[in-house]
Amino acid sequence: MSSPTEIPSDAGEPADENRPPAAGPATQLVTAVVVVALGATALTGALNLGVGSPAKPGPGTWPALVSAALTVLGVLLAANARRMDDAEQFTRTGLLVSVAVGSMVAFVAVVGVIGFEIPAALLTFFWLRVLGRESRRTSIVVSLVLTILLYALFVGALEVTIPHLF
């Protein structure tokens, strides 16, 4: 979609000043291998489903066509890996992302058990204080207010059956 980094470079500053640097051919090659593996696995699965014949297409016909195409595209990607520079390096900032994902996984794990209020407040606090480096006061106020608003919206107004404590 859109991000400030999409300003074309001739408009002044360099385009990617606040993004990690571009990744080399190795990253592209690994990507291509993953794509080929995905295509090959899907192709095996599709063949096991039964491909039928053109006159009588089976459940595996279409998946087989698509996964074969995917495998070929993956091979093409591998062949072009050297010339591509559209990927980003995984740098230390990537750790931030994995921590963020971890917090959401934890949210999913407990929401069905103890309701959404406490996990929601904790998740917001964590994102604000740890990931966003906001002040302690801002973090507490925003997370509490947001949880109350979400409760009012989803439980109060929309009467959704989201698991909740109160």
């Binding site: 998946p63 994102w127 929309l158």
Partner: protein, 501 residues
């Protein structure tokens, strides 16, 4: 003419008026905020549309889409920070004008151009869409097979990432669409024995994850610039000279935008780039561009609104979404139990004309509101992304639950959020994946029906006139790059994205 007039009656119902206003306001807001685009916003709001009437829901969702085209301008002009990809070119001359103290002129011209582009496009849409739909009523499975394939190919061809990666994303989208019970034989495919997967993957968590969460995770890695915005914007009304200077640009931008919007893969981004390139090329003083030429603001801003509106034509008349945002709106319609296609005009005239006519109203609302609200938008920009991110995340996670009342869906959103992040990181545009996923089951069904029809002979696609033509088009688009590499000395074809940057 009476269904058209009934459509106005639908728009004037208080609920619809309200949601139209809500839609364009949200649209302008996300247009102003860099980061979340209209596709992501609509995806995140999909659960909320469940509780509303179909017409009302789509009126709101459409408002978000074209409203975002207005909002993106404000930050381009004032801050050199395009809120939307479709306002990127506005930065060049818009911000140059702002530095000369003429920010008001730039915003005024943009608002007027947007209004004219949007409104002309609605009028053209009113005339064109029913005709296309009637023509498409004769389409059978072979035509739909090729139409869907052509749509996916075109979207992949013009997508922001590399073409190869866009095609890979599309193929993965098509594969994901096959997960679940096969509609013909009830065989379970790629479900790995999971009951939750037996009914197939739902569109909502995929769109919410790839567009919404993926985008948020991606921006987590960004160091944010401090925003310094001018506090007041003076003299919004453009002078008569400005208007005279930009009238041609507005006219050409509108027509170009309308045409590019209809094309699959076209849409607002391409239209704004092409319109800017056209004006620069036509101008007798191209050196003025980039230093505050009013036409450089008028043309792309008119074009992106015209394109945003006209990209509804393939969706509402053929049932083929032309870009990623239209794919999400397609999903919104499906959730409401409405399959977009040529029957839409005749079977749901109130929906069709209600939505189309709401765009007149929406454009008027945007014209009236966009200038007075500039101050407010600038203040909203001061809200730090570190505060906005957790709010968006929670709305997304809880919203995902509400669609099917299932915690599994929240897990899916997180999963696709990670996929979306990795895709953006590795240079894949998630747009083609979502679009291909949406079209996947239609495409497979159409292909299998065609093969049954033709008794397994693929030659049947060639002998039917419309599907034959579509096949030729498909091959032309698919093979064009290969031909270009074979004759590298030939003159390069017009490429708007390279023209302007």
């Amino acid at each position: 003419m009476s269904p058209v007039l009934d459509g106005f009656a639908v728009v004037l119902e208080p609920v619809n008026l309200l949601y139209c206003l809500v839609g364009v306001l949200i649209g302008m807001l996300v247009g102003v905020l860099p980061g979340l685009g209209p596709a992501a916003t609509i995806a995140i709001l999909l659960p909320i549309t469940l509780g509303i009437e179909p017409v009302t829901a789509i009126i709101m969702v459409a408002g978000i889409f074209y409203g975002a085209q207005y909002g993106g301008t404000v930050t381009s002009v004032l801050l050199r920070l395009p809120g939307e990809a479709s306002s990127v070119v506005t930065v060049f001359d818009g911000h140059a004008l702002a530095r000369q103290g003429r920010a008001g002129t730039a915003l005024g011209i943009a608002a007027i151009g947007s209004f004219i582009g949007g409104t002309l496009s609605v009028i053209a849409l009113t005339l064109v869409a029913p005709v296309v739909a009637e023509f498409a009523l004769d389409f059978g499975p072979p035509e739909y097979t090729l139409l869907a394939l052509l749509g996916i190919l075109l979207v992949a061809t013009v997508s922001s990432g590399g073409k190869l990666k866009a095609l890979i994303a599309a193929a993965i989208g098509l594969l994901l669409a096959t997960v679940g019970r096969d509609g013909f034989t009830s065989t379970e495919r790629f479900t790995f024995g999971s009951l939750s997967l037996a009914d197939g993957l739902d569109f909502v968590p995929i769109a919410m994850g790839l567009f919404g969460l993926g985008e948020i995770l991606y921006t987590l890695e960004e160091r944010h610039r401090v925003v310094h915005a001018p506090t007041t914007v003076a003299n919004v009304w453009p002078s008569r000279t400005d208007l005279r200077q930009s009238s041609g640009a507005i006219g050409r931008g509108g027509v170009l935008g309308f045409l590019l919007g209809i094309l699959p893969g076209g849409g607002a981004v391409l239209a704004s780039l092409a319109a800017y390139a056209l004006e620069k090329r036509r101008s007798r003083h191209p050196e003025r561009f980039g230093h505050g030429a009013v036409e450089g603001v008028a043309a792309p801003e008119t074009a992106n609104n015209a394109a945003a509106t006209s990209s509804f034509i393939p969706l509402l008349s053929l049932g083929i979404p032309a870009n990623a945002t239209m794919a999400v709106i397609f999903g919104a319609l499906l959730i409401q139990g409405i399959t977009p296609g040529p029957q839409l005009v005749t079977e749901h005239p109130e929906l069709f004309w209600g939505v189309v006519n709401s765009m007149y109203l929406g454009n008027i609302l945007l014209l009236i509101m966009s200038i007075p609200l500039v101050g407010l938008f600038v203040r909203i920009l001061r809200i730090r992304p570190s505060i906005l991110a957790p709010i968006t995340v929670l709305i997304t996670l809880i919203g995902a639950y509400t669609v099917n009342n299932s915690v599994f869906d929240i897990g899916l959103v997180v999963f696709f959020g990670v996929i979306g992040y990795l895709m953006k990181k590795l240079g894949f545009d998630p747009g083609p994946l979502v679009l291909a996923f949406v079209l996947g089951s239609l495409l497979e069904t159409a292909l299998r029906r065609s093969l049954l029809m033709f008794d397994g002979d693929p030659g049947g696609f060639v002998t039917r006139p419309i599907s034959g033509t579509l096949l030729v088009l498909f091959l032309a688009v698919a093979l064009a790059p290969a031909v270009r590499t074979a004759w590298p000395n030939r003159k390069k074809p017009f490429d708007p994205s390279k023209e302007t940057v």
